[in-house]
């Protein structure tokens, strides 16, 4: 008896592949579509760089908070009502100084402290950044527009475990004395990754 199943040869478009999973889970009563909506709200509206910006601004204006933040990042961000996934057991805050530039990456996948600094952009997840930033840090930063003075030491942090990192940028001198909320407005995700000046 000949087999009348049509031969499927082409890879399905990625969107249809997502639909396939979502529908299959829904039909099994797992309520994937409900979860997608709830998690979309988290990803697009809750896990945003403004969280980390608040942390940075507080650290700039409150030296005691800054010390607590550097000693135990997870506990300190919780003071501001910010949480991290259970498996991110440790938040290490990396203090930039005029002669020290910290830079975060994840060479093996694309891990970040996403609930605090926001979900990462394409360039962070691209093969180019992952391959190059550990070996050609100064060159890569310069390409990205951050041309560091020769005396600035670069420290690259590869996120290989579930410890998460966040860069605490140097407060621009012209903002000294600004109110905390206004300070938060100048802090960017790229600044907290360590690839852009404020």
């Amino acid at each position: 008896m000949p087999d009348h199943t049509p031969v499927i040869k082409r890879t399905a478009p990625v969107e249809r592949r997502v639909d396939a999973i979502q529908q299959a889970l829904d039909e099994r009563g797992l309520k994937a579509t409900e979860a997608v909506e709830e998690l979309r709200e988290l990803a697009e509206e809750q896990w945003i760089p403004q969280n980390g910006a608040r942390v940075v601004a507080r650290a700039w204006v409150d030296p005691a908070f800054r010390e607590r933040l550097l000693a135990n990042g997870r506990a300190a961000v919780a003071e501001l009502g910010l949480s991290m996934p259970k498996h991110h057991r440790h938040l290490v805050v990396l203090e930039n100084r005029p002669t020290v530039q910290n830079v975060i990456c994840c060479t093996q996948c694309s891990c970040t402290a996403f609930t605090i600094i926001g979900l990462p952009p394409d360039w962070y997840k691209d093969l180019e950044y992952r391959a190059r930033v550990v070996r050609e840090s100064r060159t890569v930063l310069k390409e990205m527009g951050l041309d560091l003075a020769p005396q600035v030491e670069i420290r690259v942090w590869d996120t290989t475990a579930d410890t998460r990192y966040m860069v605490l940028p140097v407060q621009p001198p012209e903002t000294i004395g600004w109110p905390e909320e206004k300070l938060a407005g100048i802090v960017t995700r790229d600044g907290m990754i360590g690839v852009a000046p404020l």
Binding site: V14, R16, A24, S110, P120, R135, T163
Partner: protein, 205 residues
């Protein structure tokens, strides 16, 4: 595994496609993929180590040419099939086309029997380990020497947890390497900090 994902230090890549404060998502399906895999983790269908390893097991050409969220989708689908929640046939019928999945996994391993406690300032060497399954030691630190900066809380051991192998939680050490130790005369000067699991390390006398 010494897979395609292990990119740190690999040469030949071009410029970073950087635009300041670029968006995390571009299309609605990307957000859905991100939510669906997080949902599966929340349901306990798989854990983050299994999720990462299924990405690493993608066919190398597929890995290298897929976008981040297509890699995420491929891992999600692979694990749903491997865990018996769905079948590949159902996925391909619903998607009306091929649905490429990752390759099967090699065996995992448990913690090293010779784990040592280190203190800040200790000099350590990354063991010359070649691990067929999941491992969180980037190839560029294998056999290299660095200095312990700090100890983390205990974490599940990924080499075991990605393979449902029994193991104990163990700390990672923040180990500071000089880029010139990692790539002698062939790297920009920098300190490279890596979170290295205790099982991967040995003391330098």
């Amino acid at each position: 595994m010494d897979g395609m994902h292990d990119l740190g230090g690999r040469q030949g890549f071009g410029a970073i496609r950087y635009t300041p404060n670029a968006r995390a998502f571009h299309e609605a399906w990307e957000v859905r993929v991100n939510s669906l895999y997080a949902f599966a983790v929340r349901l306990g269908i798989f854990n983050m180590d299994e999720y990462r390893h299924a990405i690493e097991r993608m066919e190398p050409r597929h890995y290298l040419t897929a976008s981040y969220y297509e890699r995420s989708l491929t891992s999600l689908a692979t694990l749903l099939v491997e865990k018996g929640i769905l079948t590949r046939e159902e996925l391909e019928r619903r998607a009306q086309g091929l649905f490429p999945l990752a390759a099967p996994s090699a065996p995992g391993r448990t913690n090293s029997p010779a784990r040592e406690r280190f203190q800040p300032g200790d000099r350590v060497r990354v063991r010359d380990d070649y691990v067929p399954g999941h491992v969180r030691m980037p190839g560029y630190i294998r056999g290299k020497t660095g200095v312990v900066v700090s100890e983390s809380p205990d974490y599940p051991f990924p080499d075991a947890r990605a393979h449902a192998v029994e193991s104990q939680d163990e700390p990672t050490y923040d180990v500071r390497f000089r880029s010139d130790e990692l790539w002698p005369h062939s790297a920009d000067a920098a300190l490279v900090h890596v979170g290295v699991f205790q099982s991967y390390l040995e003391r330098v006398a």
